[in-house]
Symmetry: C2
Subunit: 188 residues, 2 copies
């Protein structure tokens, strides 16, 4: 599966000329790299919800878009098992983010990829979610992931990209480092 | 939109008797609350990926399930704009997780809900992802969220649930606290 579309600047399906132009613009003026994301999630009964994406902003400009994502819990956790659960979706968001890092990083090095696959797993202790023991964290202690990659790069070049992704992936950072969460409750 | 199905133990579509039974089992034997999640994400060309859920484990038992989630980047970020991007999916995973907390927490208090909506937003500075300035973090500095809730609870009862969710939501914890990430690269 080679995604090269035979145009001059596309490698791995990434337009490297466009990417270089974007990097240059952000380097020249950091405001060009200000991105704002927003999502709205609505209750659909039981443990089921639907998340809508309606727009995002880049460099102060708003770009409409329209996507939905569904979540539910498995039956054993009192749900309807109609969709991935939020913990699985969090892992998917991590995987998808680092995957973009590998694909773009390889493209910028001229490495043509045949395969990237990321597998992630983690364990939770439900005593945390149920509030049964305040010494038990509700979240993951650790997430383990394995990246399988195949392409025309050297092992050293792939290792460089691997380190670069560790340092620069937004969602890896969001999980590995604390993010400040400002929550507000509005009772209607 | 009242999700009460008129059976004795269902409130907000949550079977509170089943939930109490699960909490009791985990309280009696923490192994009953050991949950393992796993997802696999495959590259689909450019910035596009697909994440598959095939099973999860509860108390050592494996439960097959089958879901897929897609991600892509907007066109301005060198993607095909075919699906939510990983940062939006991360927010959705956060929202869906705390939403389950509000719905289950209210059910356990006997509060019948009409509406729960969670809106989350956050800003990224692309200098982090592009590796242009090591002092700029690649991820979110802060996520701001607003929960709109409507039901027959008192403002005090809703505030109690709000605090409980802050303390016990797995994905809130996963973002607010550091998670250890163990990554392995396999060059095929």
């Amino acid at each position: 599966m080679n995604m090269d579309t035979k145009t001059d600047s596309k490698i791995n399906g990434i337009d490297t000329a466009a990417l270089e132009k974007l990097v240059g613009a952000v380097s020249a003026d950091p405001r060009e790299g200000e991105v704002k994301f927003e999502v709205t999630t609505s209750w659909k009964g039981g443990t089921r919800s639907e998340t809508r994406v309606e727009a995002y902003e880049l460099a102060g400009q708003r770009y409409p878009r329209s996507f939905t994502m569904s979540n539910d819990e498995p039956e054993q956790l009192c749900g309807g098992n109609s969709a991935p659960n939020p913990q699985e979706m969090l892992m998917g968001a991590f995987n998808a983010c680092i995957l973009v890092g590998y694909v773009a990083g390889c493209a910028m090095k001229g490495i043509r990829l045949e395969k990237v696959e990321v597998r992630t797993e983690g364990q939770l202790d439900l005593r945390g979610f149920f509030g049964l023991d305040e010494n038990v964290k509700p979240g993951y202690d650790q997430l383990s992931y394995r990246v399988n990659i195949k392409g025309d790069g050297t092992p050293e070049a792939f290792a460089e990209v691997h380190e670069m992704v560790k340092a620069t992936s937004p969602n890896r950072w969001n999980l590995a480092q604390p993010v400040r969460l400002e929550g507000q409750l509005v009772v209607e």
